[in-house]
Amino acid sequence: MVTAPGLSVACPVREAGAEDAVAGVPARWVATPGSVPEAAELLRACSELGLVVVPRGGGTKLDWGMPPTSVDVVVDTSGLTGVEHEAGDLVAVVGAGTPRAALQELLGAAGQELALDQPIPGPAAERSTIGGIVSTATAGPRRLLRGGPRDLVIGAALVRADGVVSRSGGKVVKNVAGYDLARLLCGAYGTLGLVVEVAFRLHPRSQARSWLHCLAGHPDDAYRITRAVLDSQVVPSALEVERTARGWELVTLLEGTPAGVQARAGRLSGLLGEGAVELERPPPGWGIFPGAADDVLIKLTSSLPGVPRVLAGVEGLTAAAEVRGSAGSGVLHAAVPGGTAAADLAEILRRLRRVTAAHGGSAVVLRAPAGLRDAVDIWGPVPGLDLMRRLKREFDPQARMSPGRFVGGI
């Protein structure tokens, strides 16, 4: 075990290797606390030494956002695991380093689940941790009915930059005592501290599922179908749209009791006409991000009437652009080839931001090859940025927690 000068702590610390770089920024040490007290001791020591800290879960989204300005200590959360499952209360308190896949397996044994899909493709998805998912606020198709992490968290424990452990919320679903810091930590990219524990409300796993597929020729047709599904009172769990060679493909997910799902699927089929086909399993690519790992991944949000305009906007960019996402909630993801020139990407973003802003939304680059990422404004306009900077200053006055990764250079 190699210890940093003065960084004498109980948990394992090793020298960082090339593979520990965060978005291309080399790290000096990797520390793996095995408990919340160890994490607190570690961050207290880092505070005393003025070390820059970047938390890391499964590392599946470490290249998201901007690179940190520097990295002294990578805090590997793989030792902060564990699940306290209160099945009767439909609640689980989960260590931040717990992989989502392991959590779902455990909850599934009791017929329950955390209703949060993960859009990371392939085997990497197995590594995605609860801390990483919460810190990047990622969700999948069922965001339509269940929302994202911020809608499912009921409490969280945070180790502050100065090593102080603080909890908010609790282990009950209904609770309005004190500020709701758990929600504030959702999507904060590790810039407010180290998330060590998250409490969630759970849902019973549905007994039956059905996917209904139909095809639209034009974004406006895709939107008409979307509106028809949302108006129908069948209460879909998800309503996804995707551009393929065949056109605009729409898939509606229904979840519930076997009899209920059958009745709803029948009614929806009738509504959507002959083209609607019921699938027994999700179609290929269901719920994962479009494009390849080296593409530029852009998150696009808009109000519902803006969805066809956003779809048309992506269609008009380049033939190689892909788009997939939740037509029913107005959250879409586009993939643009990683080989796009920086000036072209800037123009693409300008156009996408014009259309999303016109419909109350935004266009944010989640991930891009380093050269492109550094050449464009990945976040776009962020209302309330001054308040966000003030929050950051209060939580991390020395800007040592994932500095530079977030909006406005936070």
Binding site: D89, G163, S206, T301, S303
Partner: protein, 503 residues
Amino acid sequence: MAEKSETAVRRLAERLRPVLPPGGVITDPAELATYECDGLAYYRTRPGLAVLPETTEQVAAVVRACADAGVPFVARGSGTGLSGGALPRADGVLVVTSRMRQVISVDAEAERAVVQPGVINLQVTREAAPHGYYYAPDPSSQQVCSIGGNVAENSGGAHCLKYGFTTHHVLGLELVTPQGDVVRVGGAAPEQPGYDLLGVLVGSEGTLGVATEVTVRLTREPEAVRTLLAGFHHTDDAGATTSAIIAAGVVPAAIEIMDALAIEAAEQAVGCGYPEGAGAVLVVELDGPSGEVEAQLVTVQQLCREHGCFELRIAADDAERALIWKGRKSAFAAVGRISPDYIVQDGVIPRTSLPEVLRAIDALARAEEPAGAVPGDGGSRVRVANVFHAGDGNLHPLVLFDSAVPGQAEAAERVSGAILDLCIERGGSITGEHGVGADKARYMPRMFTDDDLDTMQLVRCAFDPAGISNPGKVFPTPRLCGEAPGPRRGVHPLVASGQADQL
């Protein structure tokens, strides 16, 4: 000091008169008296000054003037809050939003409504109903409470078990910060970039600024709604049924339990005709696609019978459903008929500990029984009527007492406080929906550590370093903003870079 603040408030009144519409600045003591408390009338303070703005600009002007003068302000919606969250300050300004009642837009296609903060909760649903939509959070006071107040308190309601709280239904806010700046947070689209400021603003009880415009989600009306009333001999059975329903994978829109005393009060008040001799009634409402609702209704009925239900009714129409709910919704006011005084408590426990906690509450009340009291003589002691949102473990014990009997008010206070301790012991919360406000700030250190509270107050310092936005609420002691958090700051750059060790 008091004289000084009086002068400051008087000067503010003069400064604000030209900014606000006629009648928008209230200084007359008799008029001010109408604002001296909110729904928790136990706490009363006459505000130094009240203002009735109509626009965001006017609210901003008021808050800027307060900030300049260092005068605290308190925002107030309809004044229905039950934790003294809108309790005015004698040395401050009460910002009343009752003239901000404009519904700015209702867009069913976008599933959004944009309203001013004084708009009444139920009005949003009324406006959306012709399009087949409604606004899901439905606090019991929804006919009178304001959306701004709901945002401050993160209000719930009977149906939040399935549909969530205000925080799940607010997508955007226009906020007047405690410095008087107008900032937009969130918007029509979900999942905006940056910190989730909405998440921390909703439920912050007016301590982070004043919301002047609120964008809310509208929800499609369910295809079917079925309401079921089940009579049990004992609350334990009703509680066990609740657990069984949840365990069966059913998430009803609402599950409510009332105990014998609460039923007695409701019968006297509104004659709801609940099953005779019931020790507890369970109200279950299922909604959604009709196929699902019918399947769930079969399951729920079966579970009720398996757990000792002796009478089961299913509302045949809207009128019957309304009657079932009438008893439940009247419960708070109804206990006024069977007891001269009462305290409404609001606490949360994990649903699974319901039976033990109810027994413990009963024991608490009995422990206050004066020596020599006649057993069963209800009038001679503190009693507790229980009404609760059983699905999420949110208890509303009503502590009944007679302040004319020496010692009873104090005994009731003790029982009410001890109930909160029970909630904390069980890993629950001191408030599920009424908020902390002025009433429960002193209980916060029992639920949270000093570090927890200190961290929450970092948010306060970011938004309101001067501490003028509804001060004295939520937190028992204010944090002096600008204090160095943690053990030290200003590390030597050589130490930071690892070239030197800390001595």
